[in-house]
Amino acid sequence: MTPKSFDYYAPASLDEAIRLLGENDEAKVIAGGQSLLPMMKLRLAAPTALVDITKLPDLSYVREEGDHLAIGALTTHDAVEHNRTVKERFAAIDDAVVRIGDQQVRNLGTIGGSACHADPAADLPTALLVSDAQFVIRGRGGQRVVPAREFFVDVFATAVGHDEILTEIRMAYAPPRSASAYVKHSLREADFGIAMVGAAVTVGDGNVCKDVRISLGSAGPTPLRATSSEQHLKGKVVDDENVAKAAELAVEGADPPSDVHGSREYRLEMIKALTRRSLKLALGRVK
């Protein structure tokens, strides 16, 4: 299968890429292309121009920056997976990247591309939401930073405007006695998730939950925070009973689709099960 014809641009600078996008209403940015190209081959997407940003320098890095980790938008899933700081400090992100597609996809697919594609069934958006990531977006007027809760706007839609480019994702280091986890249910290992849940916890004296974030994937048009579960857990002892109650509450506000991969009812039950599992996994990782 061949995509519809398009003009191809390989700009040498970010500013040039942003200008090209501004001049072409139907242009799309291509990075690893592991979501966009299959869609173009199926003619689900037919941009008239592609702006290839993979030749831009300095957008592939993982840097420790004082209070946060900065990941360049063009950093591949494989590079994220093999980063020690990610593994040690951002376990939910690590759990997610190892489950993305397969080795070939992880060799080309990028963290920025996955975030901007914003597939509600993809792994990284849910993991980035639970990690409270910040998104650095460059446009003609300079750059702005958007928090995860505002970044994912709708199915395949983010806060990144047509003539803007995501350049960096930042995640703050969690305080001591914090940990996170991401779990996904899919029929086969490399499949898109039928349900996914991320959990990030900070535990205080007496095993009391000082802070918690829970995010759900495949549970609506965008990844969602399970706010009722979070409110239930905060300030309480993180014992089996409270975790179970939080898991029950996770489906409040969730609106999963019914489709060939799983019914709405099945997904709702899986969200509860995965919320319990992700919380237990995260709590087990607290040092």
Binding site: D7, Y9, A10, L37, P38, D102, N107, L108
Partner: protein
Amino acid sequence: MQREKSEAAKVSMNVNGKQVSGSVEPRTLLVNFIRDDLGLTGTHVGCDTGHCGACTVMMNGKTVKSCMVLAVQARGAEILTVEGLAQGDKLHPIQEAFWKNHGLQCGFCTPGLLMSGLYLLRRNPDPTDKEIRRSIEGNLCRCTGYVNVVKSVRAAANSMRKGGEGGA
């Protein structure tokens, strides 16, 4: 900046150690450039949707599905296809291992599996079976049930640990 109208784009890259070039539409997939323009038909098109991995080649030392890469994106890249594995009549140790261990039946998926196996062994010379299985997640085989594929990669690992890519 390189800018190409939809009709024609010049591409050049290194394939199996040889510098090649051609003129393609920007929408041309790398696999089509390799098969149709270069005549290297060892790289197979299976599903053409990015699932099966039969079209796996190495691009700058990393495995990619060549049906999910544009030829223009591979400009200046070093590409390794199955044709570049053997040295004359001498099979690459991973080919030798698949042959000796019945790692293939119909052989359609084999060019891709060889690439994924080799990529793993270059990064991890002594993988566990679990690591081997994970490394071939992106390569579908409908004949073998994978048991002999895993066995073949394990045998190739043993052989390459002793004799490198020249074979034991």
